[in-house]
């Protein structure tokens, strides 16, 4: 029997926000009967079309798929679209007190449906997703034929969750979990992704003084983060550092960019890796 947390069980037994929204602004549908799980997410926005006022779901799947969907709807209600886009599959799992690793694909499915709903609402191209038979054509080559997963989708999940073994990729995406024929390809993709990632400086184990922490944060932002933003025509400004809270404001192309939430997450991860694991990045107007 799976070792589900009490919160997973509770959300499975009493799922919140089941149903549909007839006049939904955004709908994201991923998965299929053949895959063994599927999620249809409905989002209703406020009059300004910025903030999520209601979210409902319909899920075909196991206990943790239903619990992840329920958690997702609870998490995004009240968020702006940018804030919702920044929700990661790990945060869905964390909201539930964790998921067994073999079940992480349930949280990935939630994040996928959310991203699909918001991006298509904004008129953008359908993002790279796993289940191509339910929505628009997708980029890339199909790696896992059993579950119809492309290299683009696998790269994204590998990068976002910092996966480094084929087994983890199976747990997070299902790829390689059926016939196993694509496992060598998955290993190649992991090697590519790892090769592209800049070597991560070893984490500082010693307790940093506040002054030293501030210095390091500034160094990382200057040397590691801003050059990457410049490359995309964007920029950021450090507004304040209070303990472990780093406030930043986006500039140039990043300002008002609908994926600035993702960028903020990237900055946070960078600072966590290179300075201190407790850093929280907040985006402020400035």
């Amino acid at each position: 029997m799976w070792d589900y947390t009490d919160k997973v069980k509770e959300h499975f037994l009493n799922p919140r926000n089941v149903g549909d929204i007839p006049d939904a602004d955004a709908v994201g549908e991923v998965g299929s009967l053949a895959c063994g799980d599927a999620l249809k997410l409905f989002i209703k926005l406020d009059d300004a079309k910025e903030r999520i006022v209601n979210a409902t779901f319909q899920t075909f799947g196991c206990g943790s798929a239903i619990a992840s969907s329920s958690a997702l709807t609870e998490m995004i209600k009240g968020k702006t679209l940018d804030e919702a886009l920044a929700v990661t599959n790990q945060e869905i799992a964390d909201f539930l007190g964790g998921l067994p690793e073999e079940k992480m694909h349930c949280s990935v499915m939630g994040q996928e449906a959310l991203e699909l709903a918001i991006v298509t609402y904004r008129g953008g191209p359908a993002p790279v997703h796993s289940h191509d038979h339910l929505h628009g054509e997708q980029e890339g080559e199909v790696v896992c034929k059993c579950f119809g997963l492309t290299d683009g989708f696998l790269r994204k999940v590998i990068e976002q969750n910092r996966l480094h073994t084929a087994e983890q990729v199976t747990h997070f995406t299902k790829a390689g979990g059926a016939c196993g024929g694509c496992i060598p390809k998955i290993k190649d993709i992991i090697a590519q992704v790892l090769g592209e990632q800049p070597a991560v400086a070893p984490k500082k184990q010693e307790k940093l003084t506040n002054l030293r922490k501030m210095q390091l944060i500034q160094e990382v932002l200057e040397n590691e983060v801003r050059p990457q933003l410049w490359a995309d025509g964007g920029d950021l400004e450090l507004v304040d550092i209070a303990g472990s809270i780093v406030q930043i404001a986006f500039r140039k192309a990043c300002a008002g960019c609908h994926s600035s939430g993702h960028t903020a997450k990237f900055v946070e991860q960078k600072l966590r890796d290179m300075v201190s694991s407790d850093i929280v990045v907040e985006e402020v107007e400035g």
């Binding site: 069980k9 009967l33 063994g36 075909f60 196991c62 206990g63 943790s64 079940k103 579950f147």
Partner: protein
């Protein structure tokens, strides 16, 4: 919460009488049957008696019974023995719906240069004897076909298969773990050379099995060491469990008629009621001869793990052919081999009864399951379309 245990193909309750039979042989009569003193000798007598009891249930001679640790060990021993006996033969035949104890072993053999033929099954889980006739040749060392399937309960025509195998001079092994105690077997009039049995499927404890080995069948032991089991399976005997298995086999023979009347009746009632109350449900293996205790039923547009968790909330223990329960990501290999549609394969539930199952427990499932399926269909996007109809 009192459990309603309908997962007897997974494991069974140890019968109280079986437990009483084995009880003295742990703390008090713990001697080693190989010892020269009276203390070990009295255990030897009891082990011999157990061997006779097991043989009686199978219609075999006691000398044909080798005690092992489990069904998996018996399966491995049988197949590996055949390959060692006929080193020049490089072909093995089995089925796509075997238990992993056989299937994993056979698939591993392909990496060692063996040809392995996996016979397919039709939509009802039945084997095609012509496929076997076409596959078997002089290179075939062993044919291993389960007597009854653990997931669907489908019973294979073992003697018809055995007749074909014997014509070509191959050895014939059957994994009868699910069949023993549920349907009558008689090795004296059988084509089977080797048969696997597991104690914990028939109300004996876990950790004891047997390999039936027909007299005269060439054999190479899997475990070597001491002279136990006439050097056919080395290792000090699990005496208490052997004695328990003897009692369990004796009791199973007494209850065989009940299994095929009362238990069968309860299974059929459960099947009929669920099919009539729950729309879009179907039986896996419904068109085939099945074990009297097993019901594999599929509910469209819902997922098996979710069903099991909600049943479990009501105290009902069942099993599923779904991917999500096992950590695997595909529905069971058995249901896929049968070509069960994906709409159903993920929502398949197995109820397996035993002589300890009561009519009240069947009533509880008939009462509790329909609202669970309805509830999950209301959550499922596909189920909702179905309900809108």
């Amino acid at each position: 919460m009192k459990e309603i245990y309908l997962d007897n193909n997974a494991t069974t309750k140890v019968d109280e009488a079986v437990f009483e039979e084995m009880r003295p042989y742990l703390c008090e009569l713990y001697g080693n049957p190989s010892s020269m003193h009276f203390f070990g000798g009295q255990v030897q007598k009891k082990v011999d008696e157990a061997r006779k009891r097991v043989a009686a249930l199978l219609g075999a001679d006691p000398s044909e019974i080798i005690f092992t640790a489990c069904g998996t060990e018996s399966d491995n021993t049988a197949i590996r023995s055949a390959l060692e006996t006929f080193p020049e033969k490089r072909h093995v035949i089995t089925t796509r719906v075997e238990h992993p104890a056989v299937l994993t072993l056979c698939r591993g053999l392909t990496k060692k240069g063996y040809r392995v033929t996996e016979l397919g099954v039709d939509g009802a889980g039945r084997i095609d004897l012509d496929e076997l006739r076409n596959a078997i040749d002089d290179d075939t060392a062993i044919v291993s076909v389960m007597w009854a399937n653990n997931e669907t309960g489908v019973v294979f025509p073992i003697e018809e298969i055995g007749a074909i195998v014997k014509e070509r001079g191959a050895l014939f092994h059957t994994d009868a773990v699910q069949a023993v105690g549920k349907i009558p077997l008689n090795m004296a009039a059988s084509t089977v050379d080797m048969l696997s049995l597991s104690g914990h499927k028939l109300h004996a404890p876990k950790g004891i099995g047997i390999l039936y080995l027909r007299k005269g069948t060439p054999f190479r032991p899997f475990l070597v060491g001491g002279h136990q089991e006439r050097s056919r399976r080395a290792g000090t005997e699990n005496t208490a469990a052997i004695i328990a298995l003897g009692k369990a086999c004796q009791t199973a023979a007494e209850w065989l008629e009940d299994e095929n009347t009362r238990v069968l009746g309860m299974r059929d009632r459960l099947e009929k009621e669920l099919l009539s109350i729950i729309p879009h449900s179907r039986i896996n293996g419904g068109g085939a001869v099945r074990l009297p205790n097993t019901l594999s039923i599929a509910f469209e547009f819902v997922e098996g793990e979710a069903i099991l968790l909600l049943l479990s909330e009501k105290g009902i223990c069942a099993s599923s052919g779904s991917a999500c329960t096992s950590g695997s990501l595909e529905p069971s290999h058995v249901l896929r081999a049968m070509g069960v549609p994906f709409t159903c394969a993920h929502g398949s539930i197995r109820f397996s009864l035993s002589r300890f199952t009561s009519e009240d427990e069947i009533d509880a499932v008939i009462r509790e399951l329909p609202p669970i399926i309805l509830r999950l269909r209301q959550i499922s996007p596909f189920g909702r379309e179905l309900l809108k109809g």
